[in-house]
Amino acid sequence: MAETRTLGELLVERGVSRRAFLKYSSYLATLMALPPSAAEAMAEGLAKARRQAVIWLSFQECTGCTESLTRAFSPTLEDLIFNFISLDYHHTLMAVSGEAAENARLQSMAENKGKYIVMVDGSVPMKDGGVYSTIAGRTNLETLRETAKDAFAVISVGTCAAFGGLPHADPNPTGAVAIQDIVKDKPVINIPGCPPIPDAMTGTVAHILSFGKLPELDDLKRPKAFFGETIHDRCYRRPFYQRGLFAKSFDDEGARKGWCLYEVGCKGPITYNACATLKWNGGVSFPIQSGHGCLGCSEPDFWDKGGFYRPLPTPLASVREHVTEAAAAGAVLGGAAAWLARSSQNAYKSETKKSEEA
């Protein structure tokens, strides 16, 4: 399983030129908001890298994250990433192989000690000795601890693995916890979303391969390249927000004209993700473009934040007032609205906490 040839050598054998690396790297640089000049360095890095051993564990999850990954954007471009990794174990895909699959996992761990990446989807049940989810007769906790022990890094794929997700929602009957609550001695990267955007998963792995290090993360351990801005920051409906034009219900004139969904509960202003730029289903659309507000699925505890249709608390009058003042002062309109969005996120957290305490 341990690969000695570089990715460049592997592709040359298949008759694929270095232009493929450069094209893929240009695509990744765009996705990850890297300087365009980084594409050439990334291409060189990828060509010199060796196939990355990956072990994929599935715990309390719905398999939507794997479904998402298999629907990555461009078949040929994304085929490249599957050439870049050696998926030595995937619990869901290899379930029928039983003991042979478990042996493949142990063999990969031994041959790639300290170098392999563990990708996990799903949360880990801790209540009652972890009996609510077991694989090959072992609890998820045992499997995770054993597999992560000699890993280079652990990538939590999806909101369940990153923050507990749906299994963690009140009343959390299985005592579900996130991967980062268990793995404390290894780098953990969170790629939340229900499901996460496939390009965020492949882009993160490609970044590690190209540069030999983890991408820059935010305070919730999410790659800033994909989670550095809110949905609202990049929403195509934002010009309507700045003009104070809002849909009041899902069937009114504003909704038909595609106005901002802020007043029908859109969580875009407090949700950090790249849906508005990368979109879904091969770039066809994303929830807001399809007429529904953002649910905030890449944020912790999004199920328990008081309702998907409850508007964020910042008074709209003050939004309009601040935006107008900023415009009058010649400032960039987005700056005022973005500042208010972040204020709104803090206010929302505070209000939700108060209602929970009450």
Binding site: K23, T30, F73, T76, R234, R237, G282
Partner: protein, 139 residues
């Protein structure tokens, strides 16, 4: 009330990009350093993109590269200013750049590819049965 369509708005980014290009051209002339503007990382509207393409126009060179989908490299009416569009196999745009260079790096053959090609060609000339089999299109 007139319906406002976000993609028809002028964000003035086309003008900003247009003004950045001569700065990159001057740097290329002075130092030989190439420059790239990543159009997809900017929140440009369809109107902005169309406006920029119209102002840059098309020049003498247009090249197509088929690798992981089609890439189109077009020299604009301004020498050394290239519009590079990478598409995936499904035709969707994966990356779009304005490159300021004598020729975009993407068009140049990489030394590693030349080396592999040279080995292959030498094998054909030396009469390697395997290489001749491949040359005949059976590889």
């Amino acid at each position: 009330m007139t319906t406002l369509l976000a993609q028809n708005l002028n964000s003035e980014l086309a003008d900003a990009v247009f003004r950045e290009i001569p700065v990159l051209m001057q740097r290329l002339l002075d130092t030989g350093e190439t420059g790239t503007i990543d159009l997809r990382s900017l929140p440009m509207t369809d109107w902005d993109r169309q406006q920029l393409a119209t102002r840059l126009g098309e020049g003498e060179v247009k090249a197509f590269v088929t690798v992981g989908g089609t890439s189109t490299v077009t020299e604009t009416q301004f020498a050394g200013v290239w519009w590079v569009r990478h598409e995936g196999a499904d035709g969707r745009i994966a990356a779009e750049q304005v490159v300021v260079a004598r020729a975009p790096e993407f068009l140049l053959a990489h030394p590693a590819d030349i080396e592999a090609a040279q080995r292959r060609l030498s094998a054909i000339l030396s009469g390697s049965a395997e290489a001749q089999f491949e040359e005949a299109g059976h590889g």
